[in-house]
């Protein structure tokens, strides 16, 4: 019974590791292809939550004893705390520096430069 349990745990860990690495690659790709600072933050967000979250969850399942698991959980908690705050700080600094987000083109005319 416990042998099956171990197999299941490693299987889930491997799946979450692969999904996490996929998340990191997609997030980093989003960082490149998206058009504006504010859109690229979505890419950075995917790397932080999707990529880091799943990879650390996989490591959590693979960790041999509880001391290692506690450290992995601490890293995950710290990333959950700091990364969104850093991205928020960047967004705030960008808006205060006056960088305009590219709004939806289709719904209304882009605001002319002179009346911006």
């Amino acid at each position: 019974m416990s042998e099956l349990f171990d197999f299941l745990v490693t299987a889930i860990a491997i799946i979450s590791l692969c999904l996490g690495s996929l998340g990191v690659v997609l997030g980093a790709l989003g960082l490149i292809r998206l058009g504006d600072v504010y859109q690229r933050m979505h890419g950075a967000g995917i790397v932080d939550t999707g990529g880091a979250g799943l990879i650390l969850f996989g490591l959590l399942l693979l960790s041999p004893d509880w001391t290692v698991a506690v450290r992995v959980a601490l890293i995950g908690m710290l990333i959950v705390f700091t990364s969104p705050t850093a991205t928020h700080a960047i967004a705030r600094a960008a808006t205060l520096a006056g960088i305009e987000p590219i709004l939806a083109r289709r719904s209304r005319k882009k605001p002319q430069k002179d009346d911006a």
């Binding site: 960082l31 450290r71 990333i79 600094a93 520096a97």
Partner: protein
Amino acid sequence: MEPQTALIVTLAALAIGVFFAFIRATLGPTAFDRVLAVNTIGTIAVLVISVHGFWAGRPEFLDIALLYALINFIGTIAVLKFFRFGTLGDHPPRHKEDA
């Protein structure tokens, strides 16, 4: 598909992630793209150290990963404060060039 190969696959994916983020860091038109890219490189560095620790069977590396996640946050906040106020202190900088 044992854990070791999954860890190596993750390391490879993280390397690709660092490469993409590095491209954005060099290309980024505004300075905030660069700060965002460097922040993402920091997070991926944390993941690289953790996964390498697990792959090499040495769990002490997790302390370094935890420390680096911390340093990454403090560095980003310091850079952003420097961008906005030109100085880390309270008063505007004496030297006005392109602070």
